[in-house]
């Protein structure tokens, strides 16, 4: 049996101390980690179970409209929190477009941020993977590349980050609260992840033992609630990772965009925020011209990492669609199939 230490600390500081030992991993719901351990993909020597730590499973609302989501809040609980969904509808939509109900009932906010890539070569221990074994090489290069990255990839790694949740979060300036041996620090989610470069095994800025305590959304982010959407294109309607997804959020006054937020999922090893595209929309009229220009800017640096050039054109189209949907306005009710264009399938057929 794969023998590992299992520690269930009583407090955050005990957890941090326990996990500072090399070879440790935090365990929350385990929806990803346990699978990886069963497959021999990761083999932590010490599991620090934080799932029972007190005080990390609440949603706090602040007077300015912002909120703080404890790291142990379940994805489903967060998505179905009416106050939360009203203020951050695109985030709720993204949450509900991910995984399956069973997984969402278990998976935690902190765990979602730290889920590993779904690159098949990472999961297959017979394949070479720099992320799994630094320096081993990357079998994904020249292999199955259809779903791999088109932005920010390196020769060492072309994988993508699989989270839906993180895409609108990064667009809305989410802050990650981290506790470590040297105290507490805040890191914007946008700079929480590292691009692969030559060290794809280092996925985030977390140092040994550091624990995510919460994710904060600022009050200013709630100002986008009226025009915020998440759109996700995948190979089947549910229980599939995004080929490409986009979170779009607008503040509109008299048909003009005051501020825009835009981030892409499924295109890079991190949720990909594109400020240049956002800036290009400020002060512009909502509409296809504005959105197309934004899409072109968002994908200007995109490069296929293999046989996946289609993702670049697809991403452009998803950006335009997501921005157009956001401009129309957040729907009053969550679509039956969140983040999917399939929701609006009913209606009379028109002949053109």
């Amino acid at each position: 049996m794969n023998r590992f230490d299992y520690i269930r600390p009583a407090t955050v500081s005990e957890a941090v101390a326990a996990a500072s030992v090399p070879g440790s991993a935090y365990l929350a719901a385990g929806t990803n980690l346990i699978d990886l351990m069963k497959g021999g993909v990761v083999r932590p020597e010490r599991l620090v179970d934080v799932s029972h730590l007190p005080g990390l499973d609440g949603i706090e609302h602040f007077p300015d409209g912002g909120l703080r989501i404890g790291a142990l809040v379940r994805n489903a609980d967060l998505a179905h929190d009416a106050d939360f969904a009203a203020r951050f509808p695109a985030v709720a939509e993204a949450l509900l477009s991910g995984a399956s109900p069973q997984l969402r009932n278990a998976a935690t906010v902190g765990g979602n941020l730290l889920q590993r890539t779904r690159c098949a070569y990472f999961y297959d221990v017979a394949s070479a993977c720099n992320k799994r074994t630094p320096g081993a090489g990357c079998d994904a290069r020249g292999g199955q590349t259809r779903l791999q990255a088109v932005l920010g990839w390196s020769e060492a790694c072309i994988a993508t980050h699989p989270s839906d949740f993180c895409v609108p979060l990064v667009a809305l300036d989410a802050i990650v609260e981290i506790e470590g041996r040297s105290g507490r620090r805040d890191v914007p989610l946008e700079s929480f992840y590292r691009l692969p470069g030559d060290t794809p095994e280092r996925e985030s800025v977390l140092e040994a033992g550091e624990l995510i305590l919460a994710v904060r959304l600022p009050g200013t982010a709630a100002a986008f609630a009226g025009h915020a959407r998440y759109l996700k294109v995948r190979d089947r309607t549910s229980y599939a990772f995004a080929i490409v997804s986009a979170a779009a959020a607008l503040q509109i006054e008299s048909g003009r965009i005051l501020q825009a937020r835009l981030a892409l999922g499924g295109v890079a090893l991190k949720p990909w925020r594109t400020r240049a595209a956002e800036d290009s929309m400020a002060g512009e009229i909502t509409g296809p011209d504005t959105f197309r220009r934004a899409a072109d800017i968002a994908l200007a640096d995109a490069q296929p990492s293999g046989d996946n050039a289609f993702k670049i054109e697809l991403a452009r189209r998803i950006v335009v669609r997501a921005l157009s949907q956001a401009a129309v306005g957040t729907p009053k009710r969550m679509p039956a199939l969140p983040a999917s264009p399939f929701a609006a399938v009913s209606g009379a057929i028109t002949y053109v």
């Binding site: 049996m1 221990v125 079998d139 549910s238 697809l314 998803i318 399939f342 209606g347």
Partner: protein, 737 residues
């Protein structure tokens, strides 16, 4: 009982029980978790040790060095079996059984390298991970497209010849005023059933019992006996419930053989289940195909020449995918040819998956017919109707179809689906950002029959017990056997007890090729027929006009209860149905038509199936409820084949990369709209005494083409490379508005 002549009127025609929608008799057991699957026979082997298979991490080559010391020393480990200490084995056996870990050679990815047995599953798995293997990798042939030129004419596969020819196809095609020449490709597909291959092996002295998940227990029994060099009578295979098979469990894989070897060595029961990734690479898959269709026609739509050529690959000695087979029978045409060419590939073994041949053959043929209709400016239904044939077009009117309601399927479906609303010009129907299209495809699946025996026992309480080695792979065979016995013996279904899936019981047809219910049900019919005669004689009745009803035998005014005729230990008879040459004298197949409406997103090229309707004519429908479920399952699988299913081959390393159910996509509920299934009234008296035909695979046959034709009608993009994922459609859509 020999079945050599068309069935006359028989007790099944009463249809008091047969032909009605009955719930599954095993349903309550399944939904309450009490149905015992292969890995769950805890009471039979409370001391079972756990095995874990380590599969090869290369596609082709050999093991150069193997270090098992750490694994052997690991806690709880009882045995590490490798090619170095595996017992001598026979090379090959029935059910595609082949020796496991017999040498250092690696035949394909996840070919077993070691098998670790330990006190717990976790101990076995961890120890397996400790084994260090050094391979010598040899260049493998992993790419069908690259190997196409090296493909050779294969040996016949059963009765299917590699090549067929009638008339002069080349000349006929060249002379045809309208010609279509198109090539379609289909990818490798995986069965993706829920229950993994799993086995518990128990030895009692020199007799072996395996509890396993296998569609053909008798094949497994004989295959295992050959490999283990035993008498088949010393091998008992039990396969009581099967959590899906789709052909994956027709055959014998490492789980069965290795578990048996390990249990013998340890003199202790051993169980193992393949991991999900191992199912993809260690067991079989439906092989990829390249298919060229050439159809020549007159301007008014009469097909004059039809040719279907197939290229596929398999390991040395493997069989070919019979994808051109249906083209021999579906449409008329004077000049005809089919051919299959087989390349040697070093990928995992290819073999049968639901409707082998037709499932992918029709995905090409029925799209080609759609393409031909457009070229002819004809309605695709009218084109099919015009080229219907009521006899085998290769042999002529002397070999008619036993029954064929293909045209009726098309007409009924067209009417019910609203085919008239379809605009033949693509891209004309819109619903918001969706382009809407409607497509049709025909379905044919050869009707196969297999001899099948059963034992029927009348016990003193008047219960009827039906026993055979038949399997129920989730299709409803327990229920159908109960219906047939109830009908024959004149008792309510509650008084019938069905046992199956045990080679100690009379040998039945097993589950495969859609022959299960019809063949094994006929075996039950034969046994019941015999029991009726025995009982009639015992009661002093003239056998021919005894009525079995209400738990009694009656003749005139006299009636006798069944139970009064049973011996204290029960009255048992056994009989076998043996099918004669009726399939030679008559072409036999089930037919159908599928109608599909899809939406294609204008911007993203996502395809959404909005409606799917199938009309099927498959002889007597023994149980409309389970038959409908079978069709819906097939239709769902057909949608998967059209839109998403694909084993992605890493052509450098020779394995299927997407080897789990998160990455190998089958449709989820949200992908499947409301589906309609319509069964046409039909009795086929040349097929069996039940007058039924195969239904289990008909549901998938042609569905992929109906979806693809609908996609074309929606957006005018013809993709000839399955699956129709959005990346293939996207470049052909108009620029974003």
């Amino acid at each position: 009982m020999d079945f050599n002549e068309a069935a006359g009127t028989n007790p099944i025609d009463q249809t008091r029980v047969v032909g009605h929608a009955h719930d599954r008799v095993d349903g309550p057991l399944k939904v309450s978790g009490r149905a015992t699957y292969a890995y769950e026979f805890h009471n039979e082997a409370p001391d079972a040790a756990y095995g874990y298979m380590l599969g090869a991490g290369i596609g082709k080559g050999r093991i150069e060095a193997l270090d098992t010391a750490a694994a052997e020393a690991a806690p709880g480990v009882l045995l590490v079996l490798t090619h170095r200490n595996a017992p001598e084995q026979g090379k090959k056996g029935k059910g595609s059984a082949r020796a496991q870990m017999a040498s250092a050679e690696v035949r394909n990815f996840d070919d077993p390298v070691a098998f670790v047995v330990a006190e717990s599953f976790e101990q076995a798995r961890e120890a397996a991970h400790m084994i260090r293997v050094r391979y010598v990798t040899e260049p493998g042939r992993f790419d069908l497209v690259a190997e196409r030129g090296n493909a050779k004419k294969p040996e016949p596969k059963g009765s299917t010849l590699a090549d067929t020819a009638v008339g002069d196809f080349e000349a006929g095609f060249a002379a045809a005023p309208v010609q279509l020449d198109v090539t379609y490709t289909t990818p490798d597909q995986s069965h993706a059933m829920i229950e993994p291959h799993a086995t518990l092996a128990i030895w009692h002295c020199d007799r072996l019992t395996v509890y396993t998940s296998n569609q053909m227990p008798n094949w497994a029994q004989h295959g295992l006996a050959s490999i283990l060099q035993m008498e088949p009578t010393d091998v008992r295979v039990i396969s009581r419930y099967i959590g899906g098979g789709f052909g994956s469990k027709l055959f014998v894989y490492g789980d069965i053989i290795i578990t048996a070897m390990a249990a013998r060595k340890l003199q202790r029961p051993v169980k193992m289940a393949l991991t999900r990734p191992q199912i993809f690479n260690h067991t079989s898959h439906r092989p990829a195909t390249i298919q060229r269709l050439r159809i020549g026609a007159t301007p008014d739509g009469a097909i004059t020449a039809i040719g279907h050529e197939v290229w596929c690959g398999n390991q040395e000695g493997g069989t070919f995918e019979t994808a051109a087979n249906q083209t021999r029978l579906l449409y008329a045409g004077k000049h005809r040819m089919t051919s299959h060419r087989l390349a040697v590939l070093d990928l995992p073994v290819g073999n049968a998956m639901r409707a082998p041949g037709e499932a992918v053959g029709l995905m090409a043929l029925e799209c080609a017919v759609d393409e031909l209709a457009e070229r002819l400016r004809m309605d695709p239904i009218e084109l099919r109707v015009m080229n219907d044939t009521q006899f085998d077009p290769e042999t002529g009117p002397e070999r008619p179809f036993s029954s064929r309601k293909f045209v009726e399927c098309l007409r009924t479906g067209a009417d019910r689906f609203g085919w008239a609303k379809r605009n033949p010009k693509p891209g004309q129907m819109r619903d918001g950002h969706w382009l809407i299209g409607i497509g049709v495809a025909g379905a044919i699946r050869e009707n196969l029959t297999m001899k099948s025996a059963a034992r029927v026992t009348l016990d003193p309480q008047g219960q009827v017990i039906v026993e055979s080695s038949m399997t129920d792979i989730g299709t409803g065979t327990y229920t159908v056997h109960a219906q047939i016995a109830a009908e024959m013996m004149g008792v309510p279904m509650e008084r019938v007890i069905v046992h199956m899936g045990d080679t100690d019981m009379p040998e039945a047809a097993g589950s495969g090729g859609s022959w299960g219910a019809n063949s094994s049900g006929s075996g039950v019919y034969a046994a019941c027929d015999k029991l009726r005669r025995v009982l009639a004689q015992k009661a002093g009745f003239n056998a021919d006009d005894v009525v079995f009803a209400g738990g009694k035998l009656s003749q005139g005014n006299r009636s006798v209860t069944l139970e009064s005729l049973a011996d204290p230990q029960g009255l048992s008879v056994e009989a076998e149905i043996d099918f004669g040459d009726l399939t030679k004298r008559y072409a036999q197949a089930s037919f159908g038509a599928h109608f599909c409406e899809v939406g294609v997103d204008l911007a993203t090229a996502e395809v959404r199936v909005r409606r799917l309707m199938s009309v099927a004519a498959a002889g007597r429908i023994l149980n409309p409820k389970t038959a409908r479920s079978q069709c819906i399952g097939g239709m769902t699988m057909g949608i998967g084949a059209a839109l998403m299913e694909q084993c992605v081959v890493d052509t450098r390393h020779g394995y299927f990369v997407n080897h789990d159910l998160a990455e190998y996509h089958v449709p989820v509920h949200a992908d499947i709209p409301d589906m309609d299934v319509i069964f046409l009234e039909e009795l086929d008296d040349k097929s069996s005494p039940l007058k039924a035909k195969g239904i289990g695979e008909l549901g998938i046959c042609g569905v992929g083409a109906a979806v693809a034709n609908a996609v074309y009608n929606a957006c005018g993009v013809r993709i000839r490379d399955y699956p129709l994922t959005l990346d293939k459609i996207l470049p052909h859509l108009p620029p974003m508005v």
